[in-house]
Symmetry: C2
Subunit: 320 residues, 2 copies
Amino acid sequence: MPPTLRPPAARPRRVTIRDVATAASVSTATVSYVLNDTPGQTITEATRRRVREAAVALGYSPHGVARALREGQSRIVLLAVPSMRGGRGLESFVAGMSAELRTLDHSLLVTTSEDGLPREAIQAIAPRATLRLADFLAESAWRGPVLGAFDGRLAGLEFHTLTQLRHLAERGHRDIAFALPDHPDPIADQRVAHVEGAATSLGLGPVRVLRLEMGEDAHARRAAVRELAEATPVTAVATYSDDVALGVLGAMAALRLRAPDDLAVIGFDDGEAGRVSQPALTTVRIDAGGFGRRAARVALGLDPGEWVESPSEVIVRATT
Amino acid sequence: MPPTLRPPAARPRRVTIRDVATAASVSTATVSYVLNDTPGQTITEATRRRVREAAVALGYSPHGVARALREGQSRIVLLAVPSMRGGRGLESFVAGMSAELRTLDHSLLVTTSEDGLPREAIQAIAPRATLRLADFLAESAWRGPVLGAFDGRLAGLEFHTLTQLRHLAERGHRDIAFALPDHPDPIADQRVAHVEGAATSLGLGPVRVLRLEMGEDAHARRAAVRELAEATPVTAVATYSDDVALGVLGAMAALRLRAPDDLAVIGFDDGEAGRVSQPALTTVRIDAGGFGRRAARVALGLDPGEWVESPSEVIVRATT
DNA sequence: TTGAAAGCGCTAACAT
DNA sequence: ATGTTAGCGCTTTCAA
């Protein structure tokens, strides 16, 4: 027996388009046309049936890598997130994006990368599109098409912020503060801008920005909150996250200040902790599923379509 | 000019191994050998230099998809996580795994999939290995090699649980409870088993298991915690997560019970909320970076090596 | 010491 | 209405 060119590894034999072609007594081209519903081909229904039946009989499934080589890119969209520690917002965003992509015969894969694009992964899989969450949340080419406009004006984090402040305004608060973590954050400035914009459009007074220590130094937090409560007219504080809200409430508890009477507090992104702690935290629940779906469509160059439902709502609990 | 076969899309011309070969006046085979340091080849240092210089001069980088097609699998390890809402433990795990894989010329990509393998993604990128976090945490083929043995006995969640209970034991507690969320959880049973194992090995009494309501029903939580405090000898509660701990503390606050005097509480996985809330939560900080590195090595079929440092420590704050 | 060429599985231009 | 085949970029066998 003459030596033959063996495959690189002892690769388990896989069912290819060729096997299907043989089984259906057609060419590989025909198989490809049928299985991809390639437009502009004239293939009899009988042949189509034979091909499809052969494919399922053999358990054929297309080899994504070969297809990607041929097409120049894989049917993958890569989402770069800064961290695995997400909240409800991120989770629903990813779920929505993933579901929509599946519908479009693509897959979502996530990579963590603090800054810059995940070059190695891009080299490795040639994704159809790459989307950095930070870019998407901030101003960027993505923003316009993905966010679209809800309620004729704004959407995204900006919209959720409006939801958050509107609740405070409806409760009669006019002097508010916005508390955010004191550690560096790529979208901090933007969040502050959103708050200021929302406050203006709601006719509130100027917003006091409080950068809250989020480490072990409870004294610092207490001092900051005391100052806020005693030396300013602020009656309510909106926060960057539920965690920050819990920090404010923790300081208030230590100072024997009560929410909402001494200071009302509203969180952001409805985590588990705020729900079960005492007092239970009023917060904004973000359903970013619609965003995810839109981001998916935009990533593939499709029309994102219209908004269907409101992407955020206030969960009223005990602190406002 | 005769019609030529155009590439499928107007694909931007990319630098291939061929270009490098031409520039260095060698064959593509030689380029491949040099760039991959293929063992068993006799190529003069001069040639190697020429090839490498040509590669950098042209800005060549290998096409992962083509390589994957040829080799049968891509240099990707796929990690399937149940959700994007991770804690410090997951974050460090992913970071460690990712860093180690980079070292080994691979990339980590994450996919969310509640149960089962992410088949579409696997088809699409032919990953070198696929690892479900749930399998990894639970008993499975992965467990043995990845966890190895720390301190001669156990590692992983089991080890961290021991860390958690040991702290309670050292504080003199003998009757403890373990509180976990009442919603379904793939690793709940396992966690309970760990706690019981740790309690036994520490010579503690039988562990009371408390499935805590984690929804909006604060009354249910209060009732459960009151029952625990008043009708049982339990003096301390270890929890499944910081969130559950916050739920216990919330109920205690409503009941005017104080930690640690009435009931000591220790959380798990050191989240931001526990650190800033009042009273500040004692918890277990998990550094899963080492696990991640080990998981990476095992995924590639390498020896994970020995443990270097302790993977968990107690962060003592005010509740114990 | 190096090169020629096969072939991974697929799509699509072109031929029949 | 369907088949033939080039070629995506790479690795590796075999020959020179």
